[in-house]
Point group: C2
Chain length 196, copies 2
């Protein structure tokens, strides 16, 4: 059950067996069916979530009711509403499952305990957030400097595993374009792409 998350952590910090056990004692497992919410806009996010299995998305809904996907997460990724989790104010994002999923969750007080008893975890979460920050910055740069078709190519390059699992509609929402536009881009891409 916990192999994947321990392996994930070991990429950044080394833990003793005792520390591992303590860490595991703080975790909760949660299963979600496709389309179920993990976090709804308006909740206070109480957990950081590690995806052990499945696929989820974090998104915001604008005044017109349109969804804008901020992040996807598949196995071995972390997902949460960072804003809500940090400030303990109501979430601006919703998170739900695109596939039946299994999550490993750790709540806010447990993380604080963890930081005290095993300070190495401060480092781990710092690096985790840093990576998220970097990815997000890169995404901003790409969204500004590349036209929609190039953004789609980049997406496939960066997340080949996801691209296969995600409905086009969801990818369009992530790229900030309409499903119709993405459909057209794709048909262009296939024509040209055969040779590329």
């Amino acid at each position: 059950m916990y192999e994947l998350i321990l392996k994930n952590i070991s990429r950044f910090i080394k833990l003793t067996a005792e520390e591992k056990n303590y860490f595991i004692s703080l975790l909760k497992v949660k299963k979600l069916r496709k389309k179920q919410y993990l976090v709804q806009e308006g909740d206070v996010a109480r957990f950081e979530h590690f995806v052990n299995k499945g696929c989820l998305r974090a998104y915001s809904i604008d005044e017109k009711g349109q969804e804008h996907i901020v992040q996807f997460a598949i196995e071995d990724w972390w997902i949460s509403d960072m804003y809500s989790f940090l400030t303990q104010t109501p979430a601006r994002l919703s998170i739900d499952a695109l596939e039946d999923s299994e999550l490993i969750c750790i709540d806010s007080p447990s993380i604080e305990d963890l930081f005290i008893k095993v300070p190495k975890f401060e480092r781990f979460f710092r690096l985790l957030i840093k990576n998220g920050f970097i990815a997000t910055q890169r995404r901003i740069i790409e969204s500004m400097s590349l036209p929609a078709d190039a953004r789609y190519c980049k997406f496939i390059e960066n997340y080949p595993l996801m691209e296969q699992r995600l409905p086009l509609k969801q990818i369009a929402s992530y790229l900030g374009i309409t499903p119709e536009s993405l459909s057209r881009i794709r048909s262009q891409y296939i024509k040209k792409g055969k040779s590329v």
Copy 2:
């Protein structure tokens, strides 16, 4: 000289006089003239920078030679190429001064020392990055869900102090539109804005 940065830090963690002195011993001050580079694309970012005075921008340059501003920083803000700093690989961003500026810098090895001697700083930098991450995520959501004119309004709302100091061209680059477009948006905004 160091009041501002100490005050900045004290918003997140409390330091003893001794810790403060140790921290200060690690700092370097750097002055920049307007238009001077702090970091150039291709350098390895060795420092985190705190703006004590002045105004800077971090930006990337795309294949067409166009600049895309990722972040502005004025007094009491931190700025660096996070990606380069974390990975110690060459910077993808350039950072330069939009006004004569004064920076307080701390290099990578010093930060690692600091984390060991005063672990509270792990927390500080974690929170700093977290805030950056949240701001960046919000920016992505806004850039996807709002038309250019609304993004400009949001920018004025969020960063009223900056808006006054920044040339229109720089703001346009941040918003991801051309200076011509921003000029037009602005003239609309003034007409309508009088009544708003």
